[in-house]
Structures are given as C-alpha cells and as structure tokens.
Amino acid sequence: MPYVYCDPQLCTGCRACELVCPSVHERVFNPRLSRIRVVRLEFVIDIAITCRQCENAPCIAVCPSGALRKSRTGLVEVIAERCIGCSACSEACPFGAIELHDGKVIKCDLCGGDPACVKRCTPKALKLVSSEQVAEEERHAYVAQRTRKEVKA
C-alpha cells in the first residue's frame, strides 16, 4: 500500500500541505484541520507527518467501535458514523497521525489516490510511495554514501 512519505532532507516546513489538505477535504483554509502536520525542531529539523496506512494498523486494533478498517485497496479508512470520539486511535498511533476534530476522527485518505499535498509540495519532499520504493531509494542513498570516495576516484 502506498503512503505519503516525507523526506526530511528536503522538507522546508512551509506548511503548504497543511493548507492544501483541508482546502480539499473541508473547503476551508485552516491548518488545524489538516491530516498532514509539520513538525519543526530547531534548527535543522522539518518534517511532515501523516498516516502511513500501516499493514497491521494499531489504530484499527484499538478502536472499540469498529470505526476504522483496512479497505480492499489497503487504505486505513474511517467509518465516521461509527466513531465515538474516544481518541484511543490517537494514543495508539506511534506517529501522531490520527486525531479528532469536532468529535470525529480525521486522517489521511490519500485523496482517492492522488494526494493534493504531494502535488503542491514545492521542495518535492512529499511523495506517494510504497515501502518497496522507499527501500530502493534508501539502498541507493546508502550505497552512494558508502562508496562516495571510490566513485569520486
């Protein structure tokens, strides 16, 4: 299952993703409603965090009302009418990628497969990728780093 991945080397913390997300979902300009949130630590950390669509999602496991489920495509999705607003999912998620708003849970739904945040990301830090693709990129980065001297020579 692909998910929205953020490369912290590229993320500048501009929060355009936080504005785009609710503009698509709720048609408002309000970062508080965003399903993707930027974390900044001084001086060199900026990273956007959103749902990773986990294969064994802890949020689904702890939800007492069956309001979260894995869809046929692999998306972790919300059945809003079943949500009782207990925040157990927020406690369970290791990344802080799911929370309540106005008493109901909101989380990344990948905009139906073409995430608006990815399209709008100026530094191209956000990508829609699968675990396989991330691993491939990491392998390349790792090898390039390990062999930098040899490559240069």
Partner: protein
C-alpha cells in the same frame, strides 16, 4: 460573530496596556474598502490616532500589528504581517514587515489587526488563544533573549505551540533599531519597532488560532493560488526563482551586485568588493548551508540555516540574508564569513535590525579610521574588516555598554554625539541607515532611498526592472519608447515614473500582504493579477478593476506621505548623503558616476501630483484619492501645497 467581510478575520484587537484593558472591535468595512489591509490599514489608524505631538517612545504611541486579506489563505506566499508605528529611529512613519507563521496564526485566532497603546506598569506579554486574550506577567522573561523567550512562552502554552513574536534585550534597552522577531528568526526589522514594544514593557505577543480564514469565492482563490504556485515554480520565471532563491536565498545577489558595481562596500564608499567571493553564494552553499527553510505557504522558499563548524565563531543561525551580508560584511569590509554569521545570530538573539546595526558598525569603523574615535573611547581598536571587533560590538550595542550606548542611538544621532564632522559618513536618509543598494550604478535606487517613506530602505519602492533591464516587462507596462530609456540603470530618464509605479504596486503588496518576491523580483505579478485576486478573497468589487486598485494604492502612499508631512518633512528631507550625490563612484562599471537626484525627484513629484518646489501634497491630489479629511488636517497644520 460572523465576519462582516470575507477574506478578513473581521475583528480588531485593541489593547490598552496602561489600564490592562482588552477590547474586541469589529473591523470597519470602510477601512477594508479604502485601505485593503496590512500597512494600508495601519496607515489610516496611525494617522487618525497618533497626532504629531506624540513621541515615538511615549505611551501614547501606537504599535499596530497588521495582516491582510491574503494572510493565512492558500494563495502563496501568504505568511506575512507588518508592524506600523511612529518610529523611534527616525521619528517619522515607521513600518516593518516579517514572514514566518505569526501573521496567519493571528488571523486563525480571529483578528486582522492588533492595536496596542499605553505602557504596562510592569513587564507583561499578550497571550492570544482564539477568543481568550489576556495580559500575562513577563517578569521572568525580561532580560531574556529571543530564543529563551520563545522557548519559555511555547512551554507555557503547551501543545499545539503558539507563534511568538517578541523582543530581545535590545528592545528592552530601547536600542533605536531594535526589531521584533517571530518564530526565532523571522524579523520585522526596520525603523526600531522593537524599541516601541520595549517602551511599552510588552515582551511578546503569543498567538494560537484554530479558526481558519473564509474567503468570498473559495474555488476562484484555489484556482488563482494554483496558478500563482505554477508561476513561482515552472516556466521562465519559475526556473530562475528555483535556481536562485531556492538554491542560494537572497544571498545569491552578492555576485551580481558586485558585477554591476552596486555591492555597498566600506561604508558605501564603493560598490565593488574585491573579496566578494568570500562572502558569496557559492561559498555559502558549499561550506555553511545545512538546511533549507521557508515562510508559511511559500512557493519560493528562500530561507537557509547555516552553520559554522570551526573557528572562533562556531554556531548555527538562520540566514544571513543578502542585506545582512552587505551590512555586516562588505560594507564593514569584513570577509570573515563565520564572523558575519555570528553577528547575524547575535542580532537575531538580542533582537536588532541587521541593516541598521551593520550601519552603526561601519560608521564606527570609519570614525576610528579617520581618527575621530580613539581606541580609548571605543574600548578597542575598530579597524575596517575586523570581524571579531564587529561581533564584540553587537553585545555592546544591545546592552548599551561603552561605545555601544552611542551607536545604539542610530547613525544620525551617533554622529551628532561624536561630532567632528562625522555626519559626513553617517550614511542615512531621514535617520534610517541605507540598505544594500547604491544609487550611483543604479540611479533609480538613489531615488528610492531618497523618497522612501521610512527612510533609506529598499522594500518600499526599489525596482529591479531597470537594474536587470527587463525590457519585455518594461515595454508592457510603459510602452516601447519609455522602456528603452528606463532599461538603462545608469540613466535618470523616466525613473520618477518608474519608482512611482513600483511604489504604488508595493503599497498593494504590503497591504495584501504578500512577499516582494514575485513583484520586486522576478517582476511577474502586477496590478492586474491582484485585481483578479482581491475580489475573490474579499468580495469587494472596487478592487476588481486595475483603476480602482491603483487609486487605493495611491491613497495609501499619499496617506503615509501626509503622516510625514504633518511632522514637518518635505522636499529637503527627500535627499541622499553626499557620498552618493557628490563623491564619484571610484570603481566598477559606474566609475565616475554620482546620483543625479534632482531630475528624478522633480519627475517623481510631478507624477505624484505633488508640489515640485516643496514636495508637499496638493489638496486636489489628496481629494482625488478620497483623502479630503487629510487635506483639511494638513491645511490646519499648514503642511499642504498651494493650488
């Protein structure tokens, strides 16, 4: 409460620090219709509420934080706010702009502007959490620097973190060019707005908001935002934006300005710095940049975090920007890049404007060099190019120790105190230290410095159209015949018109509020773009026509001018130091040139409809822009031109 107008939060927060009273008032629709937002609205309030007898550091002076209809929306870049006040550095109209996240957060909390007056009996800070607004004790924060203050307030608020705009020790000590710093490194820098905050014993304004911004035509705003984003990131302009600003930040300018002989060097004595490469963009990126950053919702992303790993100035800072690298680098003849970074960091921590602070340092260096300032009086040798001395001066200025106490008054006053002819190399206009341009190789920049309403700044009216000869754009805006003369940066022809046009455009930009990147450079947005955007944001039809928008722009420019006129300013103040008017440029492509100010100034006044002899405004000009009441007021003060 429903906002009266779309695009605005719909409320003004008025804070009386003397009485500890907080009032929420609806945003008057006429204020929005007449003055758009940002520094435009600020101008109207300051003109009406701060009469000429109120001194800048008096409790009666107002400190206005303002956002505009773009702030907090998806239209990039939308992360800006401004501070408007009667400025302590210059004694006249003062405004300073900043980016970051603070401006949007204020709107999300439900306020377009904060108007602050009075003086608190003891140090306090203003805490805004949506509808809950209170003054909190800041005794424990007094004496703390920007980072410490921000950290402490963030802790007090808890999660989600608020945005904090605060002053450092420089603001507390009433350093005349103290600034206000938000999110640790974004700075409302010029004219000493931080000293006004310090005089009010207001340490910080912390904001947390959850409400979002409503606009008139949501789909249209999204569409225009998408189009704006495309312009910033793709095509001819988008590519240069990304190549230059994303890669190097504003610092990318150093090489180019040195090439055209416009890199202020050694107290503006020359425009060519032989060691420019050592403080240039290639070295910056290669050796120091460790991370890239941005303001809220920006499609350019020019901010850099830099780090010096070794030597005496080890440390990490955001910046330095072009203006800082000039003010604290080439203009002080300092080529020790880490020293400039350290000075920049200290300015950010103590809360001082790097341009004016750098001006003070170069002034001190020149005083020392010319034997006007002794080693004993200065407390140390102040030799041109000594980065370590520069770094030491930062602390002395911020804490007003020794020579720092004199320099903290700003160049104009420092020259008065030191005397011995030192005003000849106090390179300031109207009391404001000259920013990183030189009118000799770029004539219109000379006019910009001379007429700028806050003093010698670049952000009120600087044109890149002639600097880089953007002939296509010039032709489109002014016609082929004029464009040819305008494109020559060494010519004075039509520069009055050019600067007037740019100043009007920036009046809109500063009221929206959006970034000068996109208007100043690259010149890709113009009145027609904002005439499309503003009605979609606000629903105000008058802004939908370029003509209507231009009238609003001229109204704002005239109002700010009237504020200064009422204080006694006129043509005699619209001038430049003799260094630009009389000393020929010694090096570079503009060798032998001086600024030929008079013809440009005459043309500028004519284009504005002001009296050419005195520079005062005419009644009929003010009436044309709906400023009849201002005309009456100026008549009462005898500060209006005849006819």
């Amino acid at each position: 409460m429903m906002p009266a107008l779309k695009g605005y939060a719909g409320q003004i927060l008025r804070v009386d620090l003397t009485r500890g009273k907080i009032l929420k008032r609806p945003l008057p629709p006429d204020l929005a219709r007449g003055y758009i937002g940002g520094s435009g609205m600020g101008a109207r309030i300051l003109y009406d509420e701060v009469p000429p007898e109120v001194k800048p550091l008096s409790p009666k002076n107002h400190l206005i934080f303002a956002t505009g209809p773009v702030t907090g929306t998806i239209y990039p870049p939308s992360g800006r706010y401004c501070v408007v006040t009667r400025a302590p550095l210059t004694g006249i109209w003062g405004e300073a702009h900043s980016g970051g996240y603070w401006g949007p957060e204020l709107k999300y909390a439900g306020y377009d502007l904060i108007v602050i007056y009075g003086r608190a009996p003891k140090p306090i800070y203003l805490a805004i959490d949506d509808d809950e607004v209170e003054l909190r004790d800041a005794k424990h924060l007094w004496g703390k620097n920007i980072a410490e203050t921000t950290d402490a307030i963030e802790k007090e608020f808890g999660e989600p973190k608020p945005c904090v705009a605060c002053i450092g020790q420089a603001g507390e000590n009433l350093v005349r060019f103290a600034c206000i710093v938000n999110e640790r490194s974004r700075v409302a820098g010029r004219t000493g707005v931080g000293a006004v905050m310090g005089s009010k014993r207001l340490k910080a304004v912390a904001v947390r908001g959850s409400k979002g911004v409503e606009v008139a035509d949501f789909d249209r705003v999204c569409e225009l935002a998408e189009e704006s984003h495309e312009r910033y990131t793709t095509g001819e302009w988008g590519e240069v934006c990304q190549d230059s600003l994303y890669r190097y930040g504003t610092l990318g300018l150093v090489d180019w300005e040195n090439e055209i002989g416009r890199l202020p060097t050694k107290g503006h004595q020359t425009g060519v710095f032989e060691h420019a490469r050592e403080i240039g963009p290639e070295r910056f990126v290669r050796e120091f940049v460790v991370h890239r950053r941005s303001c809220m919702n920006c499609s350019i992303q020019c901010k850099k975090v830099s780090r010096a790993r070794e030597g005496p100035h080890v440390g990490i800072t955001e910046g330095p920007e072009y203006e800082t690298i000039v003010a604290l680098g080439s203009n002080c003849l300092v080529r020790d890049f880490p020293a400039v970074m350290r000075a920049n960091q200290l300015c950010n921590l103590y809360g001082m404007d790097t341009i004016s602070c750098g001006g003070a340092v170069s002034f001190a260096f020149e005083c020392y060099d010319r034997g006007v300032l002794s080693k004993e009086k200065a407390g140390m040798p102040l030799r041109w190019g000594d980065g370590n001395a520069e770094v030491k001066l930062m602390k002395l200025i911020a804490f007003r120790k020794g020579i720092g106490n004199v320099l903290a008054e700003g160049m104009r006053e420092a020259a008065r105190r030191i005397g011995k002819g030192s005003e000849r190399w106090a390179i300031q206009v109207k009391g404001l230290e000259v920013s990183g341009q030189d009118g000799r190789p770029h004539q219109s920049a000379g006019l910009t410095h001379a007429i700028s309403v806050i003093g010698a700044a670049h952000l009120r009216a600087l044109s890149s159209l002639d600097e880089l000869d953007y002939r296509k754009t010039l032709t489109k805006r002014f016609g082929k015949e004029r464009a040819k003369a305008m494109g020559d940066r060494l010519s004075t022809k039509y520069k009055g018109l050019l600067v007037k046009d740019v100043e009007d455009l920036y009046a809109v930009v500063d009221s929206l509020i959006t970034c000068k990147y996109g208007t100043m450079w690259p010149p890709m947005f113009y009145f027609n773009d904002y005439a499309e955007l503003l009605p979609a944001l606000t629903g105000i039809e008058e802004f939908g026509k370029v003509k209507g928008l231009r009238i609003a722009a001229e109204r704002i420019v005239n109002l700010k001018r009237a504020y200064n006129a009422r204080l006694g300013l006129d043509r005699k103040d619209d001038t430049l130091p003799n260094r630009f008017l009389k000393d020929p440029m010694p090096d570079g492509p503009a060798k032998g040139k001086v600024v030929d100010l008079k013809p440009m100034l005459d043309e500028y006044y004519r284009e504005r409809g002001w009296d050419v002899r005195t520079g005062l405004q005419k009644r009929k000009t003010l009436e044309r822009f709906g400023l009849t009441d201002v005309a009456q007021d100026l008549t009462k003060h005898r500060r209006i031109a005849k006819g």
